[in-house]
Symmetry: D3
Subunit: 243 residues, 6 copies
């Protein structure tokens, strides 16, 4: 089984880290292709970054379709371009935010999210509402660290995240923590150990969900609103997307 794990930002070191985390939990027969768009933001920390990255995600799905791909993962906690990606393929597509939310509800009744910057909290809130998990999430918390600090300033970042997780444990009446950034994929074990709570991380969660769907031969519905896009011209720098 070939799973394309798309890091929607263009920071290769983060892509590598995500790939390592994904491979660490993949089944023996699963090939993880960790990739990122050639074009886009080096990190995703707001709606604007998301909007640009979503085009990169679509590009990567289209590339994946050429190469034969069994499932896709969108490895940014805002799930940018998720429904668009689903239109482009029969293969399952999983966002890491949804993946983490789904699994968190299966091992706890209520969870809190610990994300990077407070300004991205609204993205998580919108996803929770759209997916139906608002009442499962007690609080969206921010460690107030920029995404790339997870790359460049790992230890300090880890300390801040653990601190916020401990606060969540003490104050939020929760049973689990959801990590709110793909760049935290390598920290799960350390955080869980330090905090003493189950910690759900989206990249690893998404790998298992993607494998699950593929094993069950459940493909993205092509009936109704996720059907392949209608044939259409695109112009300018997006001309190659015409179909």
């Amino acid at each position: 089984m070939k799973i394309r794990v798309i890091n929607p930002n263009t920071t290769a070191s983060m892509t590598d880290k995500i790939g390592v985390a994904a491979r660490a939990v993949a089944m023996p027969g699963t090939e993880i292709i960790a990739t990122n768009p050639a074009s886009g933001p080096v990190s995703i920390e707001c709606h604007f970054d998301e909007v640009v990255s979503a085009v990169g995600v679509a590009d990567e799905v289209l590339k994946g379709e050429q190469e034969g791909t069994d499932a896709y993962i969108i490895a940014c906690f805002g799930d940018p371009g998720l429904l668009a990606a689903r239109e482009l393929t029969r293969a399952p597509v999983i966002g890491i935010a949804e993946a983490a939310f789904h699994l968190a509800t299966m091992i706890s009744t209520r969870f809190s999210i610990v994300t990077t910057l407070a300004r991205t909290g609204i993205i998580a809130e919108h996803l929770l509402q759209s997916y139906g998990f608002s009442h499962h999430c007690r609080r969206v918390r921010a460690a107030e660290i920029p995404v790339l600090d997870l790359e460049e300033n790992g230890n300090a970042a880890l300390d801040r995240i653990i601190e916020e997780c401990l606060r969540a444990k003490a104050e939020d009446e929760i049973g689990a923590i959801v990590l709110g950034c793909g760049g935290m994929a390598d920290l799960t074990e350390q955080i869980s150990h330090a905090v003493g709570l189950p910690v759900v991380e989206g990249v690893t969660a998404a790998v298992k969900l993607a494998e699950s769907l593929v094993s069950l031969k459940l493909s993205t519905s092509k009936f109704g609103d996720l059907a392949s896009p209608r044939p259409k011209a695109f112009t300018g720098q997006f001309k190659h997307l015409s179909r």
Copy 2:
């Protein structure tokens, strides 16, 4: 990995069928132990049947704890005793209704449920609300067949289910069907083929989710409201449950 698939009713032929369906999708290393309580209703078609079966589910989890179990599945579409079971173990516990709902939202934007009897529809509605999936489900439909007809009168039952699924496809603006009974676990492929839609079935979905959680070392939270029950005396026929 040892997964205990608990059929909450006491009809052994259904337990066997569920076991076969579970094994068909399990990973190579997964051992499926299909079981049912010694005591309880032969089928589950109302709240009363559910209440009694939930004790059987708890009994089976307690038995599983003695034998070393990595995950549990509750193979009845009402997820009877789900949170109680989670209190009794660190292992993940998955209900087949929740399993099907979760996966259905990953391959479609909206789904309908096709269940057995109309009177059980309210159970599905309550689960959808509690889990957060009410707005993903367009409609709960009933084929109006008693559960045991799935055992004894398979072809006619299958025809009725397919008929209702086709009606859902035509009328409900959906992308996928969720099958609303553990006893339909062997029909998924036929129904999906006949209906031309992805069909999500809970037993098989739950097996993959259970495997996923175990692979990720995500265990049921023992912090907060799913912690082990406090030591306590039970009386009468439930004396053995004292702890």
Copy 3:
């Protein structure tokens, strides 16, 4: 009118106390039969306790049906087995949690719940959501006292409850308190007096609602999903439930 007040746990002293509280508010013509199952947990403090107690509730309803009963009350704040009980009888069945919620909304716009243990808060949250009262309840608070402390350690328990109620009054922007345990049925007046707020207690509330429904000749609907369970075999220790 004969009302069977079922204490779902097996602690007779609590059953007595509940009976006294029920009789204190019953109409002249109302006979209160306070009872508890022969089998089950001595107190109900988690989902597992609830699951076992729900069978006891059903047993007591079946017994009540033999004796001629006009209404039933389930005197545990999780309303265990409520819908199952409704299937077993035409008589009205009232849970004390729902009873308290209903009445609280009629004398205030927002209330808080003060319950025993924090871990049972999730049960109240689920009921609030299912019944439709989530937005009427500001907060579920726990006095962190085990249920049986209400029996054995009454004064200290009362102090803790009053303390938590006063905190709710000061912080929660509420107009009323709902007591979150059947074992508090004898404390209502003292708490209300100490706190200076209307205090709604479920056992007494349920008695009046049961009397109301009986007076109005409103019986549990037998059309649709609360109809009597279909005839069916039960096995093992539940064989006597075959119908």
Copy 4:
């Protein structure tokens, strides 16, 4: 116990009818004072009628306060002036719409409303949402009869209501009917008999709820947002309301 049943419109025959219905279900010691404002619309069929009638309701509560009143009922299905009335008294105040909704959820899992004119359906929808019962109500149906036809053209009106109730029973997946107009208070039994479903009528429901609250010594909270209005001048035709 003295219950003031306020018919918010000024049609005395309807007030009488409501009084008869209320007395028919009242406890022996309950005195029903059926009354209507001196000023206002002869029937209430839209928001404008409601707005005017709410002042009449407040007037009647103020009058009731002078005479010593234990509880108030607002006998119009829009519950006009309900929260205002609660501010004016310590006595419980019950609206007939809320009363019917509350009791309907105790004997069924889902109900439909049958009201007079389609244009008043939105009033019921707003109440359902505000009270928290939206998901308990399958559908608001109108018999399309003006309110006063219930007075003047009783038999034809009854036929239309029964017809609509039967449609609800056949199509709505419900267990009970809620009658959506105080003017139907005398028809409950006939409708229930003809339809074969429990029929919840608000005037009678409210009488029992009012008696319940009084018996329990639960008065309207005077802490927080239902406290007595602050002293204040009123001008013009409302000068007498200065306090």
Copy 5:
């Protein structure tokens, strides 16, 4: 274009202030007629005040209809009589609470309300729920100043409001403030300047929305539930409302 801005209370100085604020933002061709009912409370601080003021609002709309009016504004933050007013005219009718909520969601993702007295917070909560903005509003805060203090004790009131707004900015994770009283219409600029956040004030917001609807020739729907009230007699002091 003639816009009738109705201050639902009878304090002329507040009406004047509201008129000034409205004129300050009106388009060149817009004539603002600031008015208040002859009869009613001098300020609106609870449900009872609202109920009485709603009749005054209706009176003013009826007067406006005689004079030719293009749009109406109800300049009290509880939007008293809004739907009734809409029934009485084809002209658009805008409440200042809804106006402020609508605009606040266009310039921020989340806002808090700062109102006068805590006891009126429930009115705002009910409106937020009914309009659909509950999840956009983080918190309803009160400066705990009576409405008329805004007239008589302006500077102290302003200080209190700014203080509460600053608290909202620091604690509520918001992007904007909504002012919760028509009597604050002259303070917007000062508050916004002091707080460093966009501040949305309802009177000015409503003027622009009213102008917008009139410019677009969008009139209040007369099809369905906002159609003109049916002809009907009114009695007593409301006899003049017969139609």
Copy 6:
């Protein structure tokens, strides 16, 4: 006042049409700059088209920032890139879907949407939920016409839309229609006339809302989650977006 009306697709004839519609309702002093991205899809009929168009929207906002712009309008009914656009500017940004929803709730209690293709209905459903208008919208209907048919096949398209609107009027219990595509901006009057209902069209609605916000000096909040994006490198074809 300079309003940049961004047609997110690249069909110039539709941009022109939208510009004409916008100018027809703009205030005397308002300059409408109708524009579309150089790159992107020729029409927007699915999530994938939306994702690509959102980048074009951002490009157009960045261009607008250079030229001095007082407000932006995103003239596609999915409001693509709305929150991203808001991050890029202090000027107000209005989507035509939100604009239409807001105004529709001010002139009716319930509305239906008539859009182009059924597959885009889910986009409207998601917006309704996120904005808070789900309960105001009875139904999302599709005329089943591709967007560009509105350009090339206008009369047939108009007939289909009117037909669907009439069905909505007859079946949906609504007071108004919302047109679900920017390409219908020139049809409002004809449809409204043919259907006999207020018809709310998003482009024209958005112009008035944009003017309103500008007149009120309400700018997009730069405090919290809509603050300007943090400085950051972009790579590849999006390098020019580095900041």
